[in-house]
Structure formats: C-alpha cells, structure tokens
Amino acid sequence: MDRNDHPEELVLGCINKDRKSWDAFVERYSKVVYWAIRDRLRRYGYDHSEEDINDIHQDVFVALWAGGKLSQLRDPGKVAGWLAMVAGNAAIEYFRRARRQSPPSSVSLYEQICKDDDGRTLEEVLPSGADGPDRQAQLNEARAELASAIEGLNPKERMVAGMSLLHGMKHAEIAAALELPVNTVSTTVARAKKNLKEKLEKKRLL
C-alpha cells in the first residue's frame, strides 16, 4: 500500500508542502469539495452558475495549501467530513462576499416540518380566512410556535429533531452520528413531530 493511501500521511505531506502528497490529496478529495459546494448551494437555494462552483472550489484549495487551513485538522482520519464542512462554509462565505447574499433564515428551513407531513408549506397549511397583514401575523405566530416547541426539548432531543426534520437525515444516520439506538431516534422524532403539531393545533394554527 502506498503511503499516500493513508489520509494521515497525505494530510501531513500537504502541511509539509510535499507536491506529490498534494497531487494525491487533490485527486482524492476534490470530489468531496465539489459535492459539498453544490450541496450547500442547492440546499440554501442560492442561484449559482458552474463558474461560481469552480471559483469556490479553487478558493477552498487555496485556503488549504496557501492559507494553512489543513493544519487546523486534528483528526486527519476524518478529513472528508471536515472538508465537506470547510467547503460548505466557503460557499456561504463566497456568496456573502461576492454577491452580498446571506444564508436563508433557519425558520424557513424549519417550516419543512409541515412539508414532511403533508407535502405542503407552512403557509399552505394555515387555515384560510385571513388576508394581508393578518395572514402574515398568523404565519409569524405559527413560526414562533414551531421554534418554541423545539426549544422545549432537551439538547439531545433538539439535535435529533433538527437533524431529522430540518436536515432530512435518516434515523440510522442520526443514530450513528449521535451514538444513540435507532429506536431512541425514531421515538424522539415522532414525539417532537407530535408536540409540534399539538402546539400548532392548540393555537388553532393548523
């Protein structure tokens, strides 16, 4: 096995400015960076071109090679996950800097909870009757209720609910990430969903 097959050796070689290691690193992890950029831009709903992705891709590798970013990594064995976070954040930073565009409000991501159940947005499931400013107030109230219902959970439950309802992770993936039994994850998600629905129904928002 070539020494460059080990992520630890590869990362160390890049930190020491070894060109061979760098070439192997780019060859292996460029696809992770590329995927993470596209994924973040798509999930955040940024209107982007292939050129934007290429620019961000190069920005990430410049930060890794010339900016000393790789030396931040404390567990080189998990370089792919770390790179995905770095690339996703670089995409947000690029749009903030070049387009003066901020990430979408997490509340709008949050509303997918209702979409999960009914395939409709929060705005669509609100009972009709009110129009204009009244409807906006009703929508704001529903959003506030959603947020406060989540706040009522303990941190572990909040993470489970957030990963499932906000970020669409599968129960098995959450269980692996948080070192919890899959059953616990499923129960927590079901309870969180039920709590949210009950709260909204109690306030006659659903």
Binding site: K31, F61, A66, M159
Partner: protein, 159 residues
C-alpha cells in the same frame, strides 16, 4: 417572536469551527465538551447543517457515491503547489529587484524620472503577475487572515 426565532441561530462567531465539529463527529470529545457542543448545535441551524454535510460526505466517499470533479478543476488546484517552487520564487525576486532599481533610478537620474517611473510600474506589474496569479495572491492573504481569525474563535470556544 424575535426571541423564538432567535433561538434557531444562524452561524455566528461563537459557532465552533470545522475542526471542533469534526472532533465531535469522530467521538473524540470529553463528555462535558460534548454536552456543551450539543447544547449549542441543537439550536444552531448552521452547525447542524455542517454536521449533516460531514456525515453525508464521509458515507458517500466510503460508498463510492461521489462523482469525479472535472479534470480542469483538479489540475488547477494541483497547480497551486507548482507556483510555490524555488525557481518561480527566484524569478519573482528578480522582477522585484528590477522594480526597486528602476524606482531608485527615477530619483537618482531626474532627467529620466518619468521614463524610470513608468519602467518601475511595468516591472512591478510583472512582479505581481509572475509571483502568483493576482487573484490567488489576494485569496491566499485573505485565507491566511481568516485562518488566524478562526484560530482566535476556536480558542474562545475551548475556554
């Protein structure tokens, strides 16, 4: 209303950096540190998004589910290392020395002030373009600056 929405925080300077989140994902944190991170991440959409992306990337790479990047992009990234060779650096020093010389001559030979000044400007531009791509140079400086800033934030998170 503001309070409730604020509970679902956007990315802030107080967010743990990618290296801290990677340690959490790797299960390499002490229980108190893990609790503290979960307390933050559970209400932070940006951190949750990072954790999700990291997990997905790890499993997709392991499962061979990631498509290859265009060759041109990979070659461009590899090219960053080539820029850093000694020969290239030496060339850039020569252009820098010539720039300084032309600039000095413009003052020591007032008769040819404008000519030497123009020469210094041209040589200076050549130095900038030869040393590294201008954009890369700016990005490098920016990346270094951000790296320092992130180190500060990261050390604040540990306290």
């Amino acid at each position: 209303m503001e309070k409730s929405i604020g509970s679902l925080r956007e990315a802030k300077e107080t967010c743990p950096d990618e290296a801290v989140l990677a340690r959490y994902i790797a299960g390499a944190m002490a229980p108190w540190e893990k609790d503290r991170l979960e307390e933050h991440a559970s209400s932070c959409a940006a951190c949750l998004e990072n954790i999700r992306a990291a997990h997905t990337a790890e499993s997709m790479l392991a499962g061979g589910g990631l498509a290859d990047t265009p060759v041109k992009l990979r070659e461009k990234a590899k090219g960053l290392a080539k820029m850093d060779t000694g020969k290239k650096r030496m060339q850039s020093y020569i252009w820098l020395a010539a720039t300084i010389m032309a600039f000095t001559l413009s003052f020591t030979a007032p008769k040819y002030f404008a000519q030497f000044l123009v020469a210094a400007l041209i040589l200076g531009l050549k130095w900038v373009s030869e040393s590294e791509g201008i954009r890369t140079l700016i990005i490098s400086m920016d990346a270094k600056h951000r790296h320092e800033h992130e180190k500060e934030v990261s050390s604040r998170w540990k306290r």
